[in-house]
Amino acid sequence: MADINVKIGPLVLKNPVTVASGTYGYGTEFLDFYPPCELGAVFLKGITLKPRAGNKPPRIAETPAGMLNAIGLQNVGLEDFLKIKLPALNNVPGVFIANISGDCVEEFVQIAQALNDAPNLAALEVNVSCPNLQQGGMAFGVSAQATEEITQAVRNVSRLPVIVKLSPNVTNICEIARAAEAGGADAVSLVNTFLGMAIDVEKRRPMLGNFTGGLSGPAIRPIAVRMVWQTSKAVKIPILGMGGIRTARDAIEFFLAGATAISMGTAVFQDPSAPLKIIKGIKKYLAAHKHHSIYEIIGALEA
């Protein structure tokens, strides 16, 4: 049986299949289906310093082979995350990774510091797709400079491996990935959602209370694969690839394009057991191709 454990910086995952932040709650919501320790890792719901109420509903709209969401980072805030959500994982074996957002660099730093002593956390994922309130609300992640600045600030204070999650709403993904690498990121994850919009033509109102939202799901996969491939040529740190992965074949596309691990979000809504099926499918593929390790297919796209 081929070896499928992978290294994301200093972090070792028993398999390369993880679930994406915001789609798997605080790690306990899917316990009825299977224990999270069967997954490579669980990226927990994105948190902020203070609790957030989130956006006005409706927050979801379905689109061709995809969906829009505008949750607006509704979350319990750092304090309850530490007091309630993380301790709830005490008896849940698994690798859990926090996903953090903020309005300014200082907030990211505060959260990262507070999580240094938190139980049950294996790494930090830094979500730079949120708006930078000190720069007119443009997302941090569309600026290489802001991305490097945040990465460095978090890296300086955190004892955990730092994964920077990139926004795909940019002209040049490589430039941003390089900024994260320069800032000291242990890995980058991509893609976050694409900014999109759907309109209810009868009501003449946006389908989402927030007007625009993030597009995810199979629809975006070709763009995500391209970005992962470009990024893999641009940086040396490992890449966590995601965007529309639904089957083992899809996952393998990302490995060949250069991802060391993959993450699933929207497809888990369609089938909560999809990640387990993908783990099996990857093993089968490696066996069929007589590989001893998943590393033999990472970045193995023929040029």
Binding site: A53, P58, E62, I71
Partner: protein
């Protein structure tokens, strides 16, 4: 909550694009309570990517029955399922109706009949008096009417065009007399529930409403199905779908 591959044992087509499906799932039946729903995968492929939430219309011995109206692509795909096919179903999901130890008034609008049918049966089995007011557009839409006499003590059918039973809207028949000291349970389109909420509030009453909302995870994980309540945004899938009517703050239609 379980994910099962359930075999379809019965399919029925009704007028006004209503379809009922019965599938075998002892696992779901074992836990099912009125007001809960199931979340059904409607496509093998990448589109549509989201499941469709449908209330439990009935659960008996080993089988679960659902009743739904074809309104879009997802429900159309679901209506193409045939006897003997297997359906990927997650359920039962959500907080059920709290059964009040009192005579009951059930107010259903259109497809909203589904959870109230199951509730009515359970209430009757527990010996409570059940008055069901069932509002539909026309006679044709009253698909579940025949069955409803079994789940209610008294049945008032209301059609908008008077083609069956009373003419008007279900809420027109809510008054001091029909209310009495009954516990009220309702499910239906938002305008109906909004009107009912206002009417009950004016009478100093509250009810249990089963709500709908577009869902992504159907498991309490994504916060996508949020509605505004007095205690902030609540998830229809995990905190609901049953809510106290006086806790609901805003309807998505702005009503």
């Amino acid at each position: 909550m379980k994910q099962v591959l359930a075999r379809i044992i019965d399919v029925n087509f009704f007028e006004s694009d209503y379809v009922s499906l019965t599938f075998k799932s002892p696992e779901i039946v074992a836990e099912a309570q009125p007001g809960q729903f199931v979340n059904i995968r409607v496509s093998e492929g990448p589109h549509p990517i989201l499941r469709r939430p449908i209330s439990i219309f009935d659960a008996d011995e080993e089988a679960v029955c659902i009743l739904f109206k074809v309104v879009g692509e997802g429900t159309r795909l679901l209506s193409e399922v045939r006897k003997g096919d297997y359906l990927d179903v997650i359920g039962p999901i959500g907080h059920p109706f709290k059964i009040e130890p009192a005579p009951a008034l059930l107010v259903a609008g259109g497809a909203g009949i589904a959870p109230l049918h199951f509730l009515g049966r359970r209430l009757r089995e527990s010996g409570f008096d059940v008055h069901l007011i069932y509002g539909v557009r026309t006679r044709k839409e009253a698909v579940a009417a025949i069955d409803l006499v079994r789940v209610s003590t008294r049945l008032t059918i209301v059609t908008e065009d008077g083609s069956l039973g009373e003419r008007g809207l279900a809420t027109d028949f809510i008054n001091k007399k029909t209310l009495g000291d009954r516990a009220v349970y309702a499910c239906g389109p938002e305008p109906m529930l909004a009107a009912l909420q206002t009417k009950l509030a004016a009478m100093g009453k509250s009810a249990q409403f089963s709500l709908e909302s577009r869902m992504a995870c159907g498991a309490g994980a994504c916060q996508g199905c949020a509605i505004a309540t007095q205690s902030g945004y609540q998830r229809v899938c995990a905190d609901g779908p049953v809510f106290d009517s006086d806790k609901i703050l805003k309807w998505s239609d702005g009503a």
